[in-house]
Amino acid sequence: MALLDKLKVWFAVKLAWSDEARLAEAVRGFQATEADGVWHLHRGLARVRDPRHRAILFAHSLEEEAHAEEFAYTYNQIGERAMTPATYERSDLYGAAEPTWKLFAYVHVGERDATDRFRLIQQTLDESLLKRALSRIVSDEEGHVDLTHRMLIEMGATDRQIRGEVRRVRLARLWEAWLRVGKRVVDRLSTVLLSVSYFLIGPFLFLFARRRLAARFVEFDNCKLKRL
């Protein structure tokens, strides 16, 4: 698995990211990951009553925010356009009734994965702005891994509970990764199908479309409350 990860990262860094646009897009993705972390930490924060635990989560969110900013800065140094952050539909990881330690377990797994991946990328990259940014970020993330583990223990979660929850989170992340792969496959297939459709219907409809776009005014009255 580790060898496969190394190979994946090597191909991405040495081949795909030699194209600056792709590198910038990857950095945009890193920024989104960190910003997503900030959001989840703030959602978690709102449910934690213990002021000390809140302070730890808050301080953690400050770090993640700084990381997101670091990636945004890097993007703006290498990208062709100013960065517009990637957006996607948000959803909470845990319900309000679930214990706080479960949130820490999720954060712990996320931090460990991010640390491993960022470290691998950092080691593979040649000297660059992104490599320097990742060096700083990886050292922070390593601290997070230790901190979240300490917090899990401090919150009274037993080893068994922690292992069980970490396993559950890992499975959930694996399932998400599987869904992402599936989505990508469907995306590629639909690109092919829609491209074929374009060349099949385009020649018959484009003149009609051009005529329609030449109209200066909207001809039909669509001003009423309609029902589904």
Binding site: A59, A66, A82, T84, A209, K224, L228
Partner: protein, 623 residues
């Protein structure tokens, strides 16, 4: 679940209340609004909850919030209304991407993926996500949604309605008449200008040309225009031609409105205006002091911005004249994304044939959820023109107690380690101290002292504002006469280019000393929607909040609309001689305005702000 501090639900009337949920999403600025018996109970943009600026996704959290305020379950809703007609819009998108055949494969594929996969089924999605029967789901066309958004909250019995936007279903700009007959609103179409004749898209294309982000940074184009002369106006007028009937037509050879992957403008456009600005090239203009060295190229960009701004104003005035000829009312309601252009709004306010202008608190897409909900409610017999007006303070409120309690456990070293880029150490230290106030007047006095002493103060109180303007509940404030302080604010807090001006808030009592407005015009300037000239003699006292052309977006604050903020302004007035503060939105560049106390604290801790008010608690930094 969002913790709501106050639940402003009407008293029980003895009959079941009529509840309508308005929803907008799919393109940008998703939002939700709950109207109960014809009154806006709560409304919010989704971006405030998700921290994703202009979030276009299904407004899950905004809906959760508005329903929670009134303690309403989805199955108790009488109606849910969506802000556009997905079927008509799909037809327009399909037409748009087919017209450039055979060079639009990418647009066709990506548009159809988005539409067939998701957007075409928006109404079904609303039904299934809320578990509300399809019989309760209604929808209006996009521009008609804007029309009712502009009219319903205006308080006018009758009005002409002008909508200028990028593009909706098919229309780009549109005119309507609005009136109340037999207790029901009657909004009728006068004319709708069809895509691709879009003033909004033209302005966005120029925004892209000037190196800013289209659909987001149009305000930068407007600000940059203040430093230029409209020497390219004739060329822009040739591209956006005025027609004999005061309407307009856009020469499509200059734009790629259908082939958006090819960039917003064409080579022909570049041949006329020169090469575009790269976003990393610094603009040397400043509102707060001496500009840097201005190269001819940089001056060209300012001149282009001034030119497109001038022509936009001319075309909007033309549309207003055309509308007045067809609907000869004294009242004009204006909405759509272009109505956020406060410089053009001044022209409309002072030079159009209409006497009174109304622009809703959030005139862009985010506010359509309010309009459609009010309209559906009124059609069902709930609400009257005098009852429907609403203010901007309809967003979420949060208790600060838990967040303040955590401050005692926060390590200043940690705060220092993760300061905003470019900031080595906050001017006033990193240890966060706090004090709670039982007495609002005492809090206002304490904050006024700090402002007068030259501090940058975050002011977070009560319910969030609806729309892009911070109006004294999610604001960052400084004294209005200190340009060096404004530079510090731009550099170390807001991360904002120095050519972008700030605005100020002023008490209604002191406003006549700063701006010259009729009572009707003063009413229009409650929500920072119009850039008005500042009196010559008041400019030194407001130097950091006035643009180089002497104008500003003023918020005239009335005691009955925002008592706490008005009290603060009054205290400042007692110390500085004018009850005004520079007021800018409480957000960092690229992020939405802060929503929770923790988000406010996060920005406060990482930037060079000195003090922060969280409802009734004052937080400050100490070395």
């Amino acid at each position: 679940m969002v913790r709501v501090r106050e639940a402003p639900v009407d008293e029980v009337t003895g009959r079941a209340p009529h509840r309508v949920l308005g929803v907008s999403y799919g393109y940008h600025d998703s939002s939700a609004c709950l109207v109960v018996d014809g009154k806006v109970v709560a409304a919010s943009a989704e971006e405030r909850f998700t921290r994703q600026k202009h979030d276009a996704n299904f407004p899950t959290y905004a809906i959760e919030y508005v329903l929670d305020v009134a303690k309403v379950r989805p199955d108790e809703l009488d109606q849910v209304v969506f802000h556009e007609d997905p079927h008509v819009k799909f037809a327009r998108v399909l037409t748009t991407v087919l017209a450039p055949f055979p060079s639009s494969r990418l647009e066709f594929v990506n548009s159809l993926k988005a539409w067939l996969g998701r957007k075409l089924w928006s109404l079904n999605q609303i039904s299934s996500r809320l578990d509300v029967g399809p019989e309760k789901i209604g929808y209006l066309s996009h521009h008609f949604s804007h029309a009712v958004q502009a009219f319903m909250g205006s308080g006018f019995d009758e009005a002409a309605i002008l909508i200028v936007d990028a593009v909706g279903d098919w229309a780009c700009s549109a005119m309507y008449s609005g009136a109340w007959r037999d207790g029901k609103p009657v909004v009728e179409r006068v004319v709708e200008v069809a895509f691709p004749n879009s003033l909004g898209l033209v302005y966005s294309a120029f925004t892209a040309f000037l190196g800013f982000t289209p659909n987001d940074s149009e305000c930068s184009t407007m600000a940059l225009g203040g430093f230029g002369r409209p020497v390219y106006a004739d060329r822009v007028r040739e591209i956006v031609r005025a027609l004999d009937d005061d309407s307009y037509e856009v020469d499509q050879r200059y734009f790629n409105f259908a082939n958006f992957y090819k960039g917003a403008f064409t080579q022909r456009f570049v041949d006329v205006f020169g090469p575009p600005r790269h976003f990393r090239d610094k603009l040397p203009f400043s509102c707060f002091g001496e500009p840097g060295e201005i190269s001819p190229d940089m001056q060209r960009f300012a001149d282009v911005a001034a030119s497109v701004q001038l022509v936009l104003e001319e075309r909007i005035l033309g549309l207003a004249r055309q509308l007045h000829a067809k609907v000869p009312s004294k009242n004009l309601c204006f909405a759509g994304g272009v109505s956020l252009n406060c410089v053009a709004n001044y022209e409309l306010m002072t030079r159009s044939p209409f006497e009174r202008l109304f622009i809703p608190p959030d005139p862009g897409d985010g506010g359509t959820s309010v309009g459609v909900a009010l309209y559906a409610s009124a059609l069902a017999g709930h609400g009257a023109p005098a009852e429907m007006p609403y203010g901007p303070y309809v967003g979420a409120a949060f208790d600060e107690a838990d967040d303040v309690a955590m401050l005692d456990h926060l390590d200043p070293k940690h705060v220092l380690q993760y300061l905003k880029r470019g900031l080595e150490r906050p001017t006033s230290g990193a240890r966060l101290q706090h004090q709670s106030f039982d007495d609002r007047a005492a809090l206002a006095r304490a904050v006024a002292e700090r402002l007068v002493a030259g501090q940058i103060v975050g002011w977070y109180r009560g319910r969030a504002e609806l729309g892009p303007r911070a109006l004294g509940n999610r604001s960052i404030l400084i004294r209005p006469d200190d340009t060096a302080l404004a530079t510090r604010l731009s550099r170390h807090v807001k991360d904002r280019a120095p050519f972008r001006p700030y605005a100020f808030s002023i008490t209604s009592e002191d406003a006549p000393r700063a701006v010259d407005l009729t009572p009707d015009q003063a009413r229009m300037n409650r929500w920072m929607q119009v850039a008005v000239p500042v009196r010559e003699e008041a400019r030194p006292r407001l130097a950091s909040a006035v643009h180089v052309d002497g104008s500003t977006r003023v918020q005239i604050c009335h005691a009955d609309e925002n008592p706490a903020y008005h009290a603060l302004l009054t205290e400042v007035g007692e110390r500085l001689g004018l009850g005004a503060v520079l007021n800018t939105s409480f957000n960092a560049s690229g992020y939405p305005i802060v929503q929770t106390p923790a988000e406010a604290l996060s920005m406060f801790a990482r930037t060079d702000m000195d003090s922060l008010v969280l409802n009734d608690t004052l937080v400050w930094k100490q070395s």
